[in-house]
């Protein structure tokens, strides 16, 4: 589904990604872990198409398409979804109207007819239940004045509405209490299918108790320095990132 080959990227003139290689297949859950500043969020942003970063080399193929050649909105149309670490507040645009536009634009890209008001509300109701989000919240301006937990639940709600093929969760657990983590994780898990995949980007292992990964990769200094199964996450939790740093330093 996703094939990243030797991806390098800069922010201004500083090299942040120094050759990433990653293969994700349909039905899999991958986790990328790493200390602050290792390049995790950069990788997520580059995949979603933020133009803040310059891709300097390598390739990314998404369902047979050259992902890096697509605009952010086209990537969404192709089925890529990024749950933001810091969802942006949009004053004056209600979440419902935003979602209606977003969903119908994505449907248009996929050659589907727009949903009418009745169909839309039915779908929305169904997905709201999934993340335990309230309708009054959705009538308010998008993310404006939302608590941290509400913002993250709203991200998962959007994900549920758009039904992406690949969902990238960027530090979705940061700032959440344990109940909120459970709600968010349940939402994500209930959306898992044979034909979609999830990439969890996280600093801590705790989210992975709820969204159990098939593969864990450790990102350090712009490169994936180690890959393994979920046990690797537990090892990191126990020993901290220093053992990885020390190992790589000696190589």
């Amino acid at each position: 589904m996703l094939s990243i080959k030797n991806l390098t990227a800069n922010i201004e003139d500083r090299e942040i990604l120094k050759g990433i290689n990653l293969e994700i297949k349909a039905g899999e859950v991958h986790a990328i872990m790493g200390p602050n500043g290792s390049g995790k969020s950069t990788l997520a942003s580059v995949l979603a198409g933020r133009d803040h970063y310059d891709v300097t080399g390598g390739s990314v193929e998404f369902n047979g398409k050259d992902l890096l050649d697509l605009k952010p909105e086209e990537r969404a149309g192709e089925g890529l979804f990024l749950a933001f670490q810091y969802p942006v507040e949009i004053p004056g645009l209600s979440t419902i109207n935003f979602m209606k536009t977003s969903l119908n634009e994505v449907r248009k890209y996929r050659g589907q007819d727009p949903l009418d008001a009745v169909q839309f509300l039915k779908l929305m109701k169904e997905k709201m239940a999934l993340v335990n989000i309230d309708k009054t919240l959705l009538s308010r301006s998008l993310n404006e004045g939302f608590s941290g937990g509400e913002k993250k639940r709203n991200e998962v709600f959007q994900m549920a509405m758009l039904e992406p093929k690949l969902a990238i969760l960027d530090e979705t657990d940061s700032g959440l209490d344990i109940d909120a983590i459970r709600i968010v994780a349940n939402g994500v898990n209930s959306l898992r299918r044979e034909d979609n995949a999830v990439l969890v980007v996280t600093h801590y292992q705790r989210l992975l108790d709820y969204i159990v990964p098939d593969f864990v990769h450790v990102l350090w200094n712009g490169k994936i320095v180690r890959s393994g199964t979920k046990e690797l996450a537990l090892e990191l939790e126990e020993r901290g990132y220093d053992f990885i740093k020390n190992e790589t330093a000696t190589v």
Binding site: V88, F98, N104
Partner: protein, 438 residues
């Protein structure tokens, strides 16, 4: 055809002629002020960023009273804002009040020619309030409106009257043949406990440059409530300098929304005079100049008496090479203790050639007051644009949605639903947002 250069001689001659006219004294005083001060230049502090002198470089046609009307009633029907078929209409044609076209449909409201009101039972009101705004405008353009005053209108809303439909002021300029210089004038009186919605709209027909210098004065008595909606989406050949002067003389409220979408040069003076205790006024503005448009909003809140509240929010979106101006003056006189006055001005510049000048001006002479002001100038939030794009929304649409969101809290202040929907429509059209409901 007349030129501004000889307008003084003409008016001087007219005012020297015999004939009773209760307006003569005020006009004579204004004419002298016009002679002294002339058309303001950018050296005038209040006109620093708005150059009106160039509008007087050409021969201007001053309309003549009693001339044949250039329109029919059917012409007018086509020009009315949607949803206002029931409104009470106060029609000015080329700056002159047209009794033939004006219609009162609600009870408790009356329109009388100003010259007649100055002599009948309304004379004390006219005498007390007509020209009150001139104390706030030390420039000849405002004075000229008063000096020239002919075929003005007086609107009376009776005690406790709540007209079912708004008063819709339609200023029609006939710019099909000549440069027009129009100077509509009206005085609106809300007696105690009266409630009135006013919609004020300019319409220019034809492509020749025209200039409107409008003065509306409103008096709000005890427990009355005035809502005032000024909508400017006129032709690109039309320029307007307007003064809306609202004077609260009893504990009362006002709610003013000014939306300026089009016009070559727009200058709005909004004065709120809080001349009684416990008055409350809310002012909202949205200006979206494009091309080479210039839109200037000067607001003034004069806190004369204690315990008044005013709140002001103006928002601007400047595109292309356009310019915006916001000047917000809050004046708190020494005896106006316990004043609460808030002001905020927010601007978005969409192009490197667009600009805005914003200036809060607080002059506070009382010591127990709460006043605040703030202004921002920025660009569209790039993070917001990326966020929307990452959800499948195109870059252009994302920008439009952000701008629509920016304008929303002003549009929400338009209480008559038909009017709000129409303004929404105009703004969506401007932003090219059509596809889904917002």
């Amino acid at each position: 055809m007349e030129n501004i250069d000889n307008i003084y001689e003409q008016l001087d001659k007219e005012l020297s002629m015999n004939g009773a006219d209760n307006l003569r004294e005020i006009r004579r005083g204004a004419l002298e002020k016009f002679r002294r001060t002339g058309i303001p230049t950018t050296r005038h502090e209040e006109w620093k960023y708005t150059r009106v002198s160039s509008l007087f470089n050409k021969q201007l046609n001053l309309p003549v009273s009693g001339a044949d009307l250039p329109f029919t009633r059917e012409d007018l029907d086509a020009l009315r804002l949607p949803g206002q078929a029931e409104a009470n209409e106060l029609v000015f044609i080329n700056g002159l009040y047209s009794a033939a076209f004006s219609v009162i449909r609600s009870s408790g409201i009356e329109i009388v020619p100003l010259a007649i009101a100055a002599e009948n039972e309304y004379a004390p009101i006219v005498k007390a309030h007509l020209g009150h705004s001139s104390k706030y405008h030390e420039d000849g353009l405002h004075a000229l409106n008063t000096a020239w005053l002919r075929d003005g209108a007086f609107v009376s809303v009776k005690k406790s009257a709540v007209p079912e439909h708004p008063l819709y002021i339609i200023n029609i300029a006939d710019a099909r043949k000549q440069h027009q210089f129009l100077q509509p004038r009206c005085l609106i009186h809300l007696a105690a406990r009266a409630v009135l919605q006013v919609i004020d709209n300019n319409i220019t027909i034809g492509n020749v440059d025209c200039l409107t210098s409008q003065v509306v004065e409103a008096v709000v008595e005890e427990a009355a409530f005035l809502e005032y909606y000024k909508l400017q989406h006129d032709a690109p050949n039309s320029s307007i300098v307007s003064t809306t002067h609202i004077r609260h003389v009893g504990k009362s409220n006002s709610h003013v929304v000014t939306i300026s979408l089009d016009g070559k040069l727009v200058r709005n003076n909004l004065n709120i005079v809080l001349d009684a205790e416990h008055c409350e006024s809310h002012m909202y503005g949205l200006y979206m100049p494009k091309g080479d448009d210039h839109i200037d909003n000067h607001t003034l809140v004069d806190n004369v008496k204690p315990h008044c509240f005013s709140n002001e929010l103006y928002k601007g979106v400047m595109s292309d090479r356009s310019t915006g101006v916001f000047n917000g003056k809050i004046f708190v006189r020494q005896q106006a203790q316990k004043t609460n006055a808030y002001q905020s001005n927010k601007n978005i510049l969409l192009s490197p050639e667009a600009s805005v000048n914003t200036k809060p001006q607080l002059e506070i002479f009382a010591d127990d007051v709460k006043c605040s002001h703030g202004c921002t100038i920025g660009q569209l939030d790039e993070d917001g644009i990326f966020y929307l794009r990452s959800r499948g929304i195109s870059e252009d649409m994302a920008r439009s949605l952000l701008l629509h969101g920016f304008a929303t809290d002003i549009l929400e202040q338009i209480k008559p639903l038909a009017l709000r929907n129409y303004m929404e429509e105009l703004i969506n059209h401007r932003l090219e947002l059509k596809e889904y409901e917002y």
